[in-house]
Amino acid sequence: MPAHHLLFVDDEPMILQSLSLLFEDYPVHTATNGQQGLEILRSHPISVIITDQRMPGMTGIEFLREAKDIAPDAVRILMTGYSDLQAIIDSVNVGEVFRYVNKPWQAEKLKETVHFACHVAQQRSLIRKEKPAIPAANLSLGISSLESQKSEFELLFVDSNSSHLQSFKEFFEPKYTCHISSSPSEALGILRRFPIAVLVSEANLGEVDGVDFLIAAKAVQPEVVTILVTSIKDSKIAVRLINEGQVYRYLVKPFSRESLRLTIESAVIHYKFYHEQLVRSTAPAMKSAFSVPQANTTSLPEILASLRQYFATRPTY
């Protein structure tokens, strides 16, 4: 494994010094503001970025948004003493962070997390080498050309409100094969039987918490891109969904049809780019992240129980 370069961005130099010593085995780069961080990203092959959120000038999320363009494969971690609710939700939707870590952090856990993040970064760059980048311009072109013909990708919507499910189906069916379910257990079955690209779930599902369900779905089917739809902005839910569920988007109701459509489009592209490739080439490595029962017969409550145990004891954030 080649040496992974780390980048720490924090306006507090003492944090940077402390982190540098914790990661003395790695080539470490530090920046006291976002601009400086972007400079480093342009000139060094960074695998993992750890940034603070509240910084003068440029916030952590603003920095990450630009970092995504400069170094798309670098794994992004937000580590902050406090950030408001909107910032946490933005860290999902805008920063697309890999982990959200609270300060003060635990040294060993952070080390394990960074170690794992390096692994993920390496896989990402492998995929990119195999499948040369899709330029942003092509992406939008791709969407419009897809408009007329039916997409090969399948979507799964889970909501306790059946009329919502129907309207999702009506809206997306012309383009995608849509599965709908009001029962999380049934949805799990669909997820196992069909090659679902994007899973959209409401947070309030009755029988099982939608957040739990999304986390379980990701554990069962790591390739699936998950989206939470909720009327509740909650920082705890958002942090759990980032750290345990690698959720792709946190959508707060009400939203327009158009914004849901765009979210689904970009989720499909995301799926196509990473996970489809991943399944063909280096899938086992990615799957190893979750030591969760994979047997097709395991019920949802059993999966949830073993996940709870797994997350309570896992060495990373």
Binding site: M14, Y82, K103
Partner: protein, 530 residues
């Protein structure tokens, strides 16, 4: 919205009109009975026209929505002029008027008819006014109630007239009202004001009332009360007050939330590196221990072992000391120093928070404004992270009597606004304090973007904001204004677009002084003091 002042004015007019009509009524009866010389009728006919006009005006001036319904009546029944009245009277009598013979006759048909007509007219006017009018006698019995009055309470006239007026007051207030009624008739209590009464259904309704004392034809004292239903208005006012309370709470919570967010971040940052430093040092500690153990072993080898053992031990020590000579150990002194500084920083923050909130102090007390500003600046410190410069020009100040926690809130608000107004790179905020006579002056000036004149006028208005949605509730400065007002001080603002803004606060050293002078304590002149 209904205009209170207008209603009051209308009530007064109506009151006057009724008084005049009552007078007129007496006069007419007297004239009809032949007790007055005929030329007297000229006087009261004028009064009659004036009074009926007044009552009409009052009814329409009340601006109650239903008042428009009476407009046709006004046209249908214009105030009768004296000439018309005389003419009608003459028509009925078939004689020229005024005729002494007619007047001298006690039961002239024409005079009776005129009386009946004028009464009819009076009744029409009174029954078409949206003002509730009720006449209550000395025994608290309702003698007369007009249609509007009955409508307000939901009764029919039959259900009201002859009943005690207490049917419309809250049962528990019955005694109070009877007492008030008596005292009113005796002339030393007024009815004027807003009252809570009861609808027939039992639901509370609110009225604006005024009253007049009259002597009835029976020679007894009576109370004429004029009533407007203001239940809707009261409800609207209450709703507005409720939402204001909620918004004030929201503003408090949002500034508290911002404060907590800022402080949590400020505290967790040093906690982050302090914890990490300790973990680093802890993890290296066993290596140092091992090295020391190896030295111990070496000593015993030197004393009792073979040269070969010593050589082996030395090799091991070399290895161990190599391990210990890592970057963590090199930087250990600064890790310790940083950690101590980090803990001091957290301690400072907690102290500042305590000083700022002043939760453990008396709420109204001698306060040093300079210290207040200092503690506010410490709490707002995280705002100045960019290139924003804060210049303090404090003059020594006498303590003022104040609510320090509230003043801190005002200072925090002004400082926060200043920070938001200035450029992060070259922002400059100047805070000046100076004594001035019996007051202290605080000036907070910035070189920010300034406030355009049209906004400057409205800056202390509640809910006025130029910030983006979610950035501010627009209540901060209105709260500041109210706090300063409460301290009997003044807050003023001057601003120039592109140049900056300056807020000036003037606070009296003793806001209670004026009050204290007027209510001179009985002990000042007490002989015990001498």
């Amino acid at each position: 919205m209904i205009d209170y002042k207008k209603i009051k004015k209308s009530l007064k007019k109506a009151l006057k009109a009724i008084e005049q009509m009552e007078m007129l009524d007496i006069l007419m009866r007297a004239q009809a009975a032949g007790h007055l010389p005929p030329n007297a009728s000229q006087l009261f006919a004028q009064e009659f026209a004036q009074a009926s006009q007044m009552l009409n005006q009052a009814a329409h001036g009340g601006t109650l929505p239903s008042s428009s319904a009476t407009t046709p009546n006004e046209h249908a029944l214009p105030p009768m002029s004296y000439q018309e009245w005389l003419k009608k009277l003459a028509d009925r009598q078939g004689t020229s008027v005024p005729a002494t013979s007619a007047v001298s006759s006690l039961s002239t048909v024409g005079a009776d008819e005129a009386l009946r007509q004028s009464e009819q007219r009076l009744r029409t006017i009174i029954d078409s006014t949206p003002l509730g009018i009720v006449i209550t006698n000395e025994d608290c019995i309702i003698e007369y109630a007009n249609q509007a009055y009955c409508d307000i309470y939901g009764y029919t006239a039959q259900e009201m007239i002859g009943k005690p007026f207490t049917i419309i007051v809250p049962p528990e207030k019955k005694d109070f009202w009877i007492d008030l009624h008596r005292k009113y008739l005796d002339g030393y209590k007024e009815i004027r004001g807003e009252w809570e009464v009861r609808h027939k259904s039992g639901r509370p309704i609110y009225i604006l009332a005024d009253a007049a004392r009259i002597i009835g034809t029976d020679g007894k004292r009576k109370k004429v009360t004029f009533v407007s239903d203001i239940t809707e208005m009261i409800k609207l006012k209450e709703d507005a007050r409720q939402s204001e309370v909620q918004l004030l709470q929201a503003e408090k919570m949002s500034s508290l939330g911002q404060m907590v967010a800022g402080l949590a971040h400020e505290m967790n940052t040093p906690l982050g590196f302090v914890r990490n430093n300790l973990e680093l040092l802890e993890s290296k500690h066993h290596e140092l221990r091992e090295l020391l153990n190896a030295y111990d072993k070496l000593r015993s080898q030197i004393m009792y072992g073979t040269p070969n053992d010593v050589a082996m031990m030395l090799a091991q020590i070399d290895q161990l000391s190599q391990k210990v000579k890592n970057r963590v150990y090199e930087q250990a002194p600064s890790l310790y120093r940083n950690s101590i500084e980090g803990i001091d920083r957290i301690q400072d923050l907690i102290l500042n928070l305590k000083n700022f909130s002043r939760l453990d102090e008396a709420s109204f007390k001698p306060t040093n404004v300079n210290e207040s500003i200092e503690s506010t600046l410490k709490i707002a410190g995280h705002l100045f992270k960019g290139g924003i410069q804060v210049i303090k020009e404090f003059s020594p100040l006498p303590d003022i009597m104040a609510y320090p926690a509230q003043l801190n809130q005002v200072f925090l608000n002004l400082i926060t606004n200043a920070v938001q107004a200035v450029d992060e790179r070259n922002g400059r905020i100047v805070i000046r304090t100076m004594p001035q006579g019996d007051s202290v002056i605080i000036k907070v000036a910035d070189n920010g973007k300034g406030i355009p004149p049209e906004n400057l006028k409205r800056i202390f208005e509640p809910f006025f904001t130029t910030k983006d949605v979610g950035q501010g509730t627009g209540l901060g400065l209105s709260i500041a204004y109210r706090i300063i007002e409460k301290h009997k001080g003044k807050i003023d603002v001057q601003s120039q677009v592109g140049k900056g803004t300056e807020f000036t606060i003037q606070l009296p050293i003793n806001p209670m002084q004026t009050a204290a002078k007027s209510t001179s304590s009985p002990f000042v002149e007490s002989p015990f003091l001498e």
